[in-house]
């Protein structure tokens, strides 16, 4: 994969819009906070199979993890349920973060130079395939999201000496297009999918096709539905603008529809 800088919609003046930070300086600062947070959780990132998931991945996939998109002020760490014990054993090594009492899967920053960390579960071993469920644990309970099972480990990024495990774009793209959230959160998921699409290479899209073929008819329809919504979204501050990329989305839609005809 060749890293590309993602152009985000620029904010007007120096306002705060919808909870997004807005100036370039703050965006650069966000990169620092993101990387410092990942360094704080480095012991966990070393557990095999653990991946950074969610909206920060397109930030990290940019050249030198430039982090031009400020989608949310937290980072998701996907833990394979099979590696839960190994991750739990390393929680004592985390620095600068404290487990939230009310929500033990959330770790809160103890200083403003860090961001919140959310541990979420992925069931790649198909122990409970296609199901969203809670993995109970007093120290590290996990909400295991069904579609995170689509994530496959990609090549770890090395940013300033820090090894960051990220998923392959194809699985992340599908997972985000399958968002079943609505309104603002759903739109953000779809714009994250766009961010991933924009850093994807031809071979990533071939891989996406292979994964897409393996989905149920219902999920394939949901992927196409997600793409159609993405194409029609309005620009949002600090997110990639879908407008100039609508032809790209239409092209991907056509590819997926051709796969439907081949079935």
């Amino acid at each position: 994969m060749i890293p590309r800088r993602l152009e985000a919609v620029r904010p007007v003046a120096s306002t705060i819009h919808g909870g997004y930070t807005s100036s370039t300086e703050e965006s650069l600062d966000f990169r620092t906070r993101l990387l410092r947070t990942l360094r704080a959780v480095e012991p966990v990132l070393g557990v095999q199979g653990v991946l950074i998931a969610g909206s920060e991945v397109p930030n990290l996939l940019q050249p030198d993890a430039e982090s031009t998109l400020v989608v949310s002020q937290d980072v998701d760490i996907a833990v394979p349920v099979q590696r839960h014990a190994a991750v739990k054993a390393r929680l004592t090594e985390l620095r600068g973060l404290l487990r939230a009492e009310a929500e033990p899967s959330v770790w809160l920053p103890q200083s403003p130079d860090l961001i919140e960390v959310n541990f979420i579960g992925m069931d790649t071993g198909n122990e409970r395939p296609g199901e969203t469920y809670v993995l109970e644990d007093s120290e590290l309970p996990l909400l295991v999201f069904a579609h995170l099972s689509l994530l496959r480990p990609g090549k770890a990024l090395n940013v300033e000496g820090l090894e960051i495990p990220v998923p392959r774009p194809s699985g992340l793209l599908l997972e985000k297009l399958l968002t079943d959230r609505s309104a603002e959160k759903g739109d953000r998921d779809l714009l994250v999918a766009l961010g991933v699409l924009l850093v994807s290479e031809p071979r990533d899209l071939e891989e996406l096709e292979t994964q897409y073929r393996g989905l149920s008819a219902e999920l394939r329809y949901a992927v196409r539905s997600g793409l159609s919504m993405l194409s029609l979204l309005e620009p949002r501050v600090q997110m990639p603008d879908p407008t100039p990329h609508r032809a790209l989305v239409a092209g991907l839609m056509a590819r997926l529809e051709r796969l439907e005809q081949d079935r």
Partner: protein, 134 residues
């Protein structure tokens, strides 16, 4: 037991059930939004045109897209070439998204992205049932 996580899991499962239901209903009224969005995905530009131009196009053999008839009130939707579009003087561009302005249109002229095959949308004849606007 972590009640908050269980509540989020319950909501996620509920959304999955709704999606499954929507999938089963996709060929019916509920699916029209996907079908309409799908058409707009292929549109690089969307223009509102008048009834007279809509009638002229239809009388000239242009078949409105079936999905437009599924809406109430119906919208006559045409994919046009750039030349055909430019020949219509009374036209107003709207964003290619499900905004109020577009949904209130009686007639829509769409310009497809380069390379998009639009004949697929008119493979089902729908000339007689489309109400004409006066």
């Amino acid at each position: 037991m972590n009640e908050a996580l269980h509540e989020r899991a319950r909501r996620a499962r509920e959304r999955a059930l709704i999606r499954a239901c929507e999938y089963r209903q996709r060929h019916y009224a509920n699916g029209v939004w996907f079908r309409f969005r799908r058409v707009l995905v292929d549109a690089a530009e969307a223009w509102i045109i008048g009834d007279d131009d809509g009638n002229r196009l239809e009388n000239g053999g242009r078949v409105p897209l079936p999905v437009g008839r599924e809406l109430a009130p119906p919208i006559r939707v045409f994919f046009l070439s750039k030349e055909e579009l430019e020949a219509i003087s009374d036209r107003r561009q709207v964003p290619a998204r499900l905004c109020a302005e577009l949904l209130h249109a009686g007639n829509l002229a769409l310009l497809a992205h380069a390379g998009v095959e639009t004949a697929k949308y008119t493979s089902i004849a729908c000339t007689s049932a489309t109400p004409r606007r006066k």
